[in-house]
Amino acid sequence: METLANLALGFSVALSPYTLMLAVVGCFIGTIIGALPGLGPSNGVAILIPISFALGLDATAALVLMTAVYYGAMYGGRISSILLNIPGDEPALMTTLDGYPMAKNGEAGNALVLSGVASFVGAFLATVGLILLAPVLARVAFLFGPAEYFALYLLAFCTLGGMASNNQAKSAIAACIGLGIAMIGVDSSSGLPRLTGGNLHLYDGVDFLVAIVGLFAIAELFFFIESHGKGSSIGVVLDKVSIPWKYIRQTFPTMLRSSGVGFVAGVLPGAGASLGSFLAYMTEKSIAGEKGKFGTGVPKGIAAPEAGNNAAAGGALVPMLTLGVPGSGTTAVLLALLMTLNITPGPTLFRDNPDVVWGLIASLLIANVVLLIMNVPMVKIFVKILSVPAWILLPGVTMISTTGIFALTGSYFDLLMLIGFGVLGYFLRKLDVPTVPVILGILLGGNMEDALRRAMTLSDGDPTYLFSSPIAIGLWIAAILGFVAPMFLRGILKKPQAVTD
């Protein structure tokens, strides 16, 4: 009953005409961003955050707009996966495996609509899961002290490094880069500057938005200059779009199973949507067996990763909202949004700001429905947008993100840092060093250090305090397992390679 009352509160916040309009606009922009090759949900949300601040939207409105963009981008990512064989971001990689072959078989329209429905089912079930699980976890989170929080942050970095990258050392270095940058600035307890090198511009620390936009958007520009924008023209023709009821009925059990798998993967801190779509695809592939013909363009091969991916996106919101630990790159960006709005995620959020939490959840449900309605008839429009050439798109994105940061801070120094982060992002991605841990490090560094310091102050400097409660020990074990286990599983769980022409 309490849940229903809360939901009613949420809808009363989210259903005003103004926020509804924002949700529709956000879904539209988000789908476009997701569909454009090279621009994923993380980029999209990152570029729009500074602009939404400069607009002076209030907390609820900004949240509604950004979550709509987030869900929209998750939807849109599949369009370029299916039609161009280019995943808009990493979670969409699995959709290319069957989506592109199916489009080449002349069923592009069916593939797009089916993936839209699968996305809807995944995202919807995950939002329901979020409604049920988040308040419970928020209550558990009240038991967390500084030692537990420190272990939890560690767990996020470990699972992220373990699962999402190919080399543990590299992802640990990435996390250290982020954490190291987070330490720069005036120390909260002594009031003295730390690690600024005497540069006055650094006394406030490094704004994480600068880092996010630099690492994602500006680095992308360098990649396009390197490749001269090859591979961004449309490869598959889309003719008639109708609703393939037969496929939807056929794949419905697949969607349900994949949503479950994806949701669980999403809830694990640090694992995120890539793992969700990967596990969902592999589960369905092993259930179907050899006869399933996965990889040749079967409907189930589209429904599984899309439902899994979107369910994981919803699942990733659970640790982000209840514990303040994001489960994926994009939720890290959403966490950045919350922190800039002066909303601290964590158990207190559910107690102190129920209107924000439940408004957010209600706007997720609304965004979902809007997206399904928008995507089936309008898919042709989004496909048209795919043909925007890279030589207009990338300069445009660069200028929008630079101006966004400039509008936010008004300082040339931040713009120069933005370019610096772009260069860093280019080299890191070239060297196969994941950039998401860098973002996560910058975002969480301050909190992680606070937890450690409080633990040390409480225990009078005794390090064993960090392992003093069962929850903390459990988290430490999970963190070590999450970091070490993938080294041994890598041989077994080999990622399937994308089909090439």
Binding site: A172, C176, L195, P395, G396, F406, Y412, L452
Partner: protein, 162 residues
């Protein structure tokens, strides 16, 4: 192999410098002697260990671009740097048109098309920012004095600017 070793070496040196800087962090009565240094030291330590792992167990090399492409990338960085400092004295339209044209030309070398794209983007974004997003103060047009221009450009010259 070599790229990872170089990357590992760079991170190792950076980590060492970071640790050295961390030991020099100023403290006072409120923060205690050790706590402000603890976490930075841990970060530096972990980074140092990981860079050693990378030096001894490197991954295969990525495909690095050719010399010409490096030149292009350098040009892009310089263009963006000038864009960053000139936005304050010159306003939005002129720097954006020039920078977007050059970047567009770098992605697809067709001069006429690139200039059109640059001008179009600059005016289009100006309209969007000013009239749709109401950020007129950010994208306002400004006519600079030579002194202000020099002030802005000198930022990019080491030891001359501020």
């Amino acid at each position: 192999m070599a790229s990872d070793r170089i990357f590992g070496l760079i991170t190792l040196i950076t980590a060492a410098a970071y640790i050295a800087a961390a030991t020099q962090i100023q403290t006072n009565f409120f923060s205690g002697e050790f706590l402000p240094k603890l976490f930075p030291l841990m970060i530096g330590g972990v980074a140092a260990i990981c860079s050693l792992v990378l030096i001894f167990k490197p991954d295969p090399d990525p495909d690095w671009p050719m010399a010409r492409t490096w030149g292009n990338l350098l040009v892009a960085v310089v263009v963006l740097a000038f864009y960053a400092v000139l936005m304050t004295p010159l306003g939005f339209i002129l720097p954006t048109a020039v920078a977007a044209s050059i970047l567009s030309y770098q992605i697809s070398p067709n001069a006429k098309r690139a200039v059109l794209a640059g001008i179009g983007l600059s005016l289009g974004l100006f309209v969007v920012f000013k009239f749709v997003l109401m950020l007129g103060n950010v994208v306002a047009y400004r006519s600079p004095t030579p002194a202000k221009l020099w002030d802005a450009i000198s930022i990019l010259i080491p030891f001359v600017g501020h």
